[in-house]
Amino acid sequence: MGYPYSHDLEVGTLLSRHFGNEKARTLEGWKELGGYATLPKALEMDPDAITEVVKNSGLRGRGGAGFPTGVKWSFMPKEPSGAHYLCCNADESEPGAFKDREILRWVPHLLIEGCLIAARAIRAEHVYIYVRGEFFPFSAILRDAVVEAYEDGYVGQNILGSGWNCDVTVHLGAGAYIAGEETGLMSSLMGGRAEPWIKPPFPAQSGAFGRPTTVNNVETLAAVPMILAEGADWYRQWGTEKSPGTKLWCCSGHLERPGTYELPLGVNLRDVIYEVCGGAPDGKKIKAVIPGGSSTAMLTAEELDCSGCYEGMAEAGSALGTASPIVMNEDTNIVQAMRRIAQFYAHESCGQCVQCREGTSWTAKILHRIEEGDGTVEDIDTLYHLCEQMTGRTICPLADSVVFPLLSSLDKFRDEYDALIKR
């Protein structure tokens, strides 16, 4: 069954196979569908052997940065001197992304199994699943699943008689974009404001509660059980050499069939937009696409012919991010869209770094003025200057997140800005 649409290009057999199937939510139903089959195997394996399989599979972080997951795990101390933690990042705060919530609400046990295997690999005995504050219904489903898993001995003390203990805690955030950044997430988890901290110390040295911690995205962890079950080579049949596997694509905006699709990495972005999603409705032309969630550089309709993978999108001058193309048709006012994005980041800046705290709101105000027809030619220079000073100057990349779409919109759609600026 397609969920809610399907297409020939869609793999649909891995992460999203059971999307839309209510049976998958319950432990009983999930086991009938073949769930929790990999955990016993993981319990018999050496932690480092699990890491090795994941390393070989080439699985890369699905939260946006694309860091190789197995490599990240290998940073954790091999001989624990105390508690290790695994944090599952279910904050999904990037505008345009709506993939993790689908995993939470349709296949929560897949995530739990992935968490347990990852915890085993990094020698953690406590998993925190940090769920975005607004995800009330999804976190309730996940919480029910965790309770069931505790009851049946998949989570908790002496898991499946192996003698290994691992707890899973579902933690609901308080609603802040920056809680999706790994150090911001841990600050929030520890009861503080979701404020990123400067690295070093890296999480694998001193993370949550001052202990070695690994933070992984929901989609990353959900891919782990199948990789361990079927092997690294099996996973590599999809995707590219540098970006193996499949990816949940969140397609939104002016599209005939918007939605979450599981597609192999390396899929052509043009195909995703025109073939899978049917292009813009009402025969309109597409003007621009922000391919990886709102924090990535805009592409024009002419630039869409590129490989939908980490390296391919970088080559195209943007980023894969969370693979969440936001499509804008020919009627879209780019300045207005950009103002809305800047306003979002100004609202979400945690306020620590000066460039971000002041720069994001200044950017939004200038864009607002231009939009209202009160802009000046100097404003464009100021925006370029802001782009320069907000890039790579701050603790976390939130400020950069405004710069990528802003700079690309200034470069590619300058005529729209000029048209609004009084001569």
């Binding site: 404001r193 901290w197 400067i198 306020g351 620590q352 460039q355 002041e358 000046t376 000073q389 100057r393």
Partner: protein, 525 residues
């Protein structure tokens, strides 16, 4: 510790400098004589969020600018703090900070001592590109005695982190976020910690101001002298700010061995209070039953003539300097009076948990150890004065004494700065300068001899006690009186166990510990 293996050599702005491994670039730059501008970093606050981004420097081989307050110095590193990229970034931070910052320097108490003003002046941007309306946050009160000017705040969080890291009391928080962020008390909590005043000192701009100082003095109108806080036996090193011969503010002065960068609020208040009350401005001698003013020469010869060897008692103050106590002891010796007592007000002890050697100590006097060193002993009661005996009082207000205390004495010599009620029974009053009006030393709880400097002029002809007491001794046939504090200290150091070898200039601004001879048999703490 300092073996070569632990040392690394790097180049900062062309200056080669060798530092211990683990030193941050900002500290290493100090060794090279380079000041890297910064706001959120404070050397006394352990947490380093690296959030103001003011101290970004360029390191060759690093793609991004790095915050020097946390970035560790590396061997062979080549660092530029004033390269074009670093300068532009710093200039940009200033521009960002000034976007919503009010232009109220003319009425801001920090003006002249403001890091934002200084750097803004240095980078010299005359016009703002900011065409939007400034955010207005207004003024608020974060504690009973501390005001918060939200518009001026640059959210460096030094105040929040002082409370968290040093005071161990999370009473302050950042409220809201992004450009709307401001400092507030945690909901339901009061900022009433005994060391809260330090948040005003750490504020790099004029956002936090003591209410009793607000609009009172401009930075350039004040004189500043190094002093020692008389509030308790810790002896915090302080800076006394004076305007028109009035103490308007007391701030902590760095002494890593005593108080680091901090002091308590009790101490801040106590010096400002020191000049209140009715002062003794001229010597007074009792003639025809009445106390009449007299010149110093007249008074000293009169007292010398009337004072005679007799039995007697003495009351001194643990707030008097060692020099005053030493010459009082010398006078008592000359008169054949043994012993002598002092009282000490007791209060609650409060520790600054992040720097635990700093406490507001229970003994609320600065020189308890000094008084003991000169053979005075603590007593909760005033000594009884037998009829016709001599009574010598130095600096004690004799509070709680009966109205006729000392009236039966053969000679009641009152040496003090204030005309306290009990002094009305005195045979002679010798007007003393207060501690901030003179120089001298205290011995703190751990036996550290510390110098304080003169901050104020004395009213009338009040003089330092050690000075006129040495002259009185001269009148009584002793050696010639001393006029310089260094000479008084030298005489005292020669004659006092534990002080041998100490010199006035050698004490400097950090003080020195008494030698073992000056330490009590059982350590005080």
């Amino acid at each position: 510790m300092s073996d070569a293996a632990n040392h690394i050599t790097l180049t900062i702005d062309g200056v080669e400098v060798s530092v211990e491994a683990g030193t941050t670039l900002l500290q290493a730059a100090e060794h090279a004589g380079v000041v890297v501008p910064h706001y959120c970093y404070h050397p006394g606050i352990p947490s380093r969020p690296a959030q103001c981004r003011m101290c970004l420097v360029e390191i060759e081989g690093q793609p991004k600018l790095q915050p020097s307050c946390v970035f560790p110095a590396g061997d062979g590193m080549v660092v530029h703090t004033t390269s074009e990229t670093a300068e532009t970034a710093r200039k940009s931070v200033i521009e960002f900070l000034l976007l919503n910052h009010p232009l109220d320097c003319p009425i801001c108490d920090a003006a002249g001592q403001c890091m934002l003003q200084d750097y803004a002046f240095e980078t010299g941007q005359l016009r703002s590109r900011y065409a939007e309306a400034k955010l207005v946050l207004g003024r608020d009160r974060v504690a009973d005695d501390i005001l918060y000017f939200g518009d001026r705040c640059i959210v460096c969080t030094r105040c929040v982190r002082f409370m968290e890291d040093l005071a161990g009391d999370n009473a302050l928080v950042v409220a809201q976020r992004g450009h709307k962020a401001y400092i507030d008390t945690f909901p339901g909590k009061d900022l009433d910690h005994a060391f809260r005043g330090n948040i005003v000192d750490v504020c790099p701009v004029g956002a936090l101001v003591h209410e009793d100082f607000v609009f009172k003095a401009r930075a350039w109108d004040m004189d500043s002298s190094p002093g020692i806080c008389p509030g308790c036996s810790t002896g915090c090193n302080v800076e006394i700010n004076v305007k028109e011969n009035q103490i308007v503010r007391t701030k902590p002065r760095l002494n890593p061995d005593v108080n680091s960068y901090w002091m308590c609020d009790h101490g801040r208040r106590i010096l400002v209070m020191a000049n209140r009350g009715v002062r003794a401005e001229a010597p007074m001698i009792r003639q025809g039953g009445e106390l009449e003013p007299a010149s110093w020469n007249e008074a000293l010869s009169w007292v010398a003539e009337k004072l005679s060897d007799s039995s007697g008692v003495a009351v001194v103050s643990a707030g008097a300097s060692n020099e005053a106590l030493f010459y009082t002891r010398a006078l008592l010796d000359r008169l054949g009076i043994q012993g002598g007592t002092f009282q000490v007000e007791q209060g609650e002890e409060v520790t600054l948990t992040g720097f635990p050697r700093l406490k507001l100590r229970a003994d609320r006097a600065p020189n308890v150890r000094g008084a003991e060193l000169h053979d005075f002993r603590l007593s909760e009661e005033l000594p009884e004065v037998s009829d016709g005996a001599t009574l010598v009082v130095l600096g004690d207000a004799l509070s709680g004494a009966a109205a006729d205390y000392g009236a039966n004495a053969g000679f009641f010599l009152y040496i003090g700065s204030h005309l306290v009620p009990a002094a009305r029974n005195a045979t002679a009053i010798l007007p003393a300068a207060t501690v901030p009006e003179t120089e001298g030393t205290f011995v703190n709880y751990e036996g550290r001899v510390q110098r304080f400097h003169r901050a104020l002029r004395s009213p009338g002809v009040a003089r330092p006690s050690w000075m006129f007491l040495s002259r009185l001794l001269e009148h009584l046939g002793g050696p010639s009186g001393v006029r310089e504090i260094g000479d008084a200290f030298a005489v005292m150091a020669t004659d006092t166990a534990g002080m041998h070898g100490l010199t006035w200039s050698g004490l400097g601004l950090r003080g020195e510990l008494l030698s073992e001879a000056g330490q009590p048999a059982v350590a005080a703490e």
